[in-house]
């Protein structure tokens, strides 16, 4: 059967995906081609692959399992500060690793708040270092993202369906069976795939909280191959393993996610009549409170640590902040130019295709490899320092692309499914359909994706470290430099500034896109 007629073409999306794939695979090939014969993979590398897989699978499963009740509670309840809480929940995800780890340890470390409280009660301090510590940190980073992705699934059920359910006297259990479970069957695999892919390239978090070389990940092996052995062939080989694992996981997850939607709605404000019993209220309240405590305490620790330093920040920190803002803006624009057409093309395809996989590559390939590859490609033609900012913006956009697509694709699919035929029957296609139907109806998702992209770019150390000269530093790079010069207090202050800027960027875009005032 031929694909259904669509009001818009898939060309721009295919073009964008081709650019992304060419850029990532091209830089990987550049590294591989530049390699001299080196050593192959040894038992230690396979050990690293096993540990990487295990921690990524555990982290993804636990993050998503915890995200479902939290998202369900947030979808069912309206309370003062809900919107601020949802924005704040985005914060862990966008922090530079070192800042987040120090924040986590201030709360959960051997000398952290929890251990002190336990000590006061005469109990042993927490033992945070080990596989459980790695998973805890990854859940801290990814629970908010998983919650937002799944919450979005709830938002895609039109308000009319809940209205109808209420008419028919459906209780919380029936709504779960009829509306929520089918929705989760679609959104959970995608969330699992994204979190799994993020954890696959984890390095500093896994090593620091894993408590030693048992917690060696593939990314660490790449780092070692590149820096200490200068074995580019090995680095490229390990990067290929990362790609294979991501593509495999994503392929499985996306295949498991069935299509089919809830049909068009009339965009009425959402009201819920179900789940009013005291028990369910208490259950939702507990889910939200526990998640908020778990995520906000470390953020509070970062704020407390940073307050002393934030008043006396050196001028270079503010210069770096300016650079970071410029890069974030450029990177967000690039992200949208790539992601929106790709999302539309994916939405029109019947099966998971290569466009979708191209979008995931940005997560699968280690930034060190992309950066090195781009460096090798650029070096013969141009001064890498002159290109530091555009290259950083581009790489940041590509690494945010997988998240943007997960946010945009379900909505694009729904819009095209619900309004595509109407558009065709009105003979409205191409740009008018994009301008009048697609973009306005995707505004909240585009806003969320842009906010996430901007915040991610702001907090990402990215490839700037490979390209930067002393005059151009981003804020995360400047934080590392401050720490390297013993200026831990100033670094904590700069981290607080970074947290504030990232949240602001996220809030501006996310807010700009919301269409339900209450969401």
């Amino acid at each position: 059967m031929a694909d259904r007629a669509q009001p818009i073409g898939a060309g721009p999306g295919i073009g964008a995906a081709a650019i992304v794939a060419a850029l990532i695979l091209g830089s990987l090939a550049a590294v591989a081609l530049r390699a001299q014969p080196g050593t192959g993979l040894g038992p230690a590398d396979w050990q690293a692959v096993r540990f990487t897989l295990m921690q990524a699978a555990l982290s993804a499963a636990i993050s998503v399992a915890l995200a479902v009740p939290v998202a369900r509670a947030l979808a069912r309840r309206r309370f003062a500060g809900r919107s601020a809480l949802i924005t704040l929940l985005g914060a862990p995800f966008i922090l530079p690793v070192i800042v987040a780890v120090l924040g986590l340890l201030t709360v959960f470390g051997r000398a952290g708040w929890v251990s002190q409280a336990l000590g006061a009660a005469g109990l042993e301090p927490l033992r945070i270092y080990g596989l459980h510590g790695v998973v805890l940190a990854h859940v801290f980073f990814n629970l908010p993202l998983a919650t937002r992705l799944i919450l979005q699934g709830w938002q895609e059920i039109p308000a009319e369906r809940f209205r109808l359910a209420a008419h028919l006297g459906a209780d919380a259990g029936a709504i779960w069976r009829l509306l929520e479970a089918p929705m989760l069957a679609r959104s959970v695999p995608a969330a699992l795939a994204v979190v799994f892919a993020i954890c696959l390239t984890s390095f500093a978090v896994a090593l620091t909280l894993g408590g030693g070389p048992r917690a060696t990940t593939v990314e660490l092996a790449i780092y070692q191959a590149f820096r200490f052995d200068f074995d580019l062939g090995r680095a490229a080989l390990l990067a290929c393993i990362q790609i294979a694992l991501t593509v495999l996981a994503a392929g499985l997850a996306l295949r498991a996610a069935p299509g089919g939607g809830f049909g068009a709605g009339l965009d009425r404000p959402l009201r819920r009549w179900d789940a009013q019993s005291g028990l369910l209220r208490a259950q939702d309240g507990a889910a939200i409170t526990l998640a908020a405590l778990f995520l906000l305490l470390p953020l509070a620790a970062i704020a407390v640590n940073g307050l002393a330093g934030v008043t006396s920040l050196p001028a270079s920190v503010f210069r770096a902040a300016g650079t970071s803002i410029v890069i974030a803006a450029a990177s967000t624009a690039t992200l949208l130019v790539l992601a929106v057409p790709m999302a539309a093309s994916i939405a029109m395809a019947r099966r998971t295709g290569w466009i979708e996989l191209a979008g995931l590559l940005g997560l699968a390939v280690s930034p060190l490899v992309i950066g090195t590859g781009l460096f090798i490609v650029v070096y013969p033609f141009a001064d890498p320092f002159a290109l530091a900012l555009p290259v950083t913006a581009l790489v940041n956009a590509i690494s945010a692309l997988p998240f943007a697509l997960r946010i945009l694709v379900p909505r694009a699919r729904a819009v095209l499914g619900d309004f595509g035929r109407l558009g065709l029957s009105l003979n409205m296609g191409g740009l008018p359909f994009v301008r009048l139907v697609l973009l306005p109806r995707m505004r909240p998702q585009i806003g969320f994706a842009a906010g996430l992209g901007a915040a991610l770019s702001m907090g990402d150390l990215g490839v700037i470290a490979l390209f930067a000269d002393p005059e151009v530093a981003t804020l995360p790079l400047q934080i590392y430099r401050l720490m390297g010069a013993y200026r831990m207090e100033a670094a904590a202050g700069a981290a607080l500034l970074l947290l504030a800027l990232s949240m602001l960027a996220f809030w501006i875009f996310d807010r700009g896109g919301r269409w339900h005032a209450e969401v």
């Binding site: 230690a44 408590g211 070692q224 470290a465 000269d469 010069a485 013993y486």
Partner: protein, 325 residues
């Protein structure tokens, strides 16, 4: 019209620059930070050289060498500043570096004679702790104690590699036993120095692998004398930081001049309180006040570059085996 003016301005600026030769020096990030020696060195050298000195930061010592190998003979760098003794052999093997003509009366605890690499500062690795702590006096005592330490991974960090060499140089074949004994003292292993030192200041460990000069930073810059370093009877492994001229440099004379300048009083006198290391040549005015409070190791350990390079892989394998149990 505006563009034309801009272009003209750019052109004349480029023309003016073309008259002054430019010396490009690749170094590690913390050297060129606002608090590092970079800004002082740049100003002082430009005063005497009639040139434009351009520093380029490339991560840490290991990243620096990787960068030079990536760029090869086409590199814009004239001088590389900030490799350490563990990287010297790999750097020499690239064949990218040229012999130097520097003469200096070095005050290193070991004899130094190298045709290509010029030492400009050095330090001893040590475990830094709070002054109140009853610190062990060697690795065996540390292994027997309940003290918690945080160290850096030798696969990603130069201090981490330094500790690996320290244990190897002090204990040779007994090194795996020492690591096994230490394994229950190690709270965690971090990617780099900053993470480890940050964890230590957060109170996650009793001691952290750093330098004997680290307490000087707290004393002089923060007027905080609460930190000190543990003196180990086996001796302390050294880190010697070196600079070298690239064979393909288009400014070889300027590069020679710069290397000689690095061991002159103008630079050596600022290194202790900017890079927080010992100067390679003691400045005329002596060490800054506060340095006399630092511990003085009884024995300086340092493996020759060739031996260090050969021992690295077996030592790393021993370390991995002992700590992966």
């Amino acid at each position: 019209m505006k563009y034309l003016t801009f272009a003209a301005g750019l052109f004349s600026a480029t023309a003016a620059l073309a008259d002054t030769p430019e010396l490009t020096v690749y170094t590690y990030d913390s050297f060129i930070s606002d608090w590092g020696p970079g800004p002082v060195v740049e100003a002082a050298f430009e005063e005497v050289c009639g040139c434009d000195l351009k520093f380029v930061g490339a991560g840490d010592g290991a990243a620096l060498l990787a960068r030079i190998r990536l760029e090869g003979a086409r590199s814009a760098a004239d001088v590389v500043l900030g490799l350490d003794t563990n990287l010297v052999q790999a750097a020499r093997d690239t064949g990218l570096f040229a012999p130097h003509v520097v003469t200096a009366a070095y005050d290193l605890p070991v004899d130094w004679a190298d045709a290509e690499f010029v030492p400009y500062d050095w330090g001893y690795f040590a475990f830094v702790h709070d002054r109140g702590l009853e610190a062990p006096s060697d690795f065996r005592a540390l292994a027997d104690s309940d003290l918690k330490i945080v160290i850096q991974d030798p696969r990603s960090s130069t201090p981490g590699l330094g500790l690996l060499m320290w244990v190897k140089a002090a204990y040779g074949d007994q090194a795996p036993k020492i690591w096994e004994g230490l394994s229950d003292n190690i709270v965690t292993v971090t990617k780099g120095w900053s993470e480890a030192y940050g964890l230590f200041l957060e109170g996650e460990a009793d001691m952290v692998l750093s330098y004997t000069t680290s307490p000087a930073y707290h004393l002089i810059a923060e007027e905080d004398d609460s930190k000190t370093a543990a003196r180990f009877d086996e001796g302390h492994y050294m880190q010697v930081e070196v600079a070298a001229k690239l064979a393909a440099s288009d400014q070889p004379e300027l590069a020679d001049k710069f290397l000689q300048f690095m061991v002159s009083d103008a630079v050596q006198s600022v290194l202790p309180t900017t890079n927080w290391m010992y100067p390679a040549v003691t400045p005329a005015a002596g060490l800054p006040q506060g340095f006399e409070t630092l511990i003085a190791p009884g024995k300086a350990l340092l493996l020759p570059p060739g031996e260090a390079a050969e021992l690295r892989d077996p030592a790393l394998a021993e370390w991995l085996t002992a700590l992966s149990r």
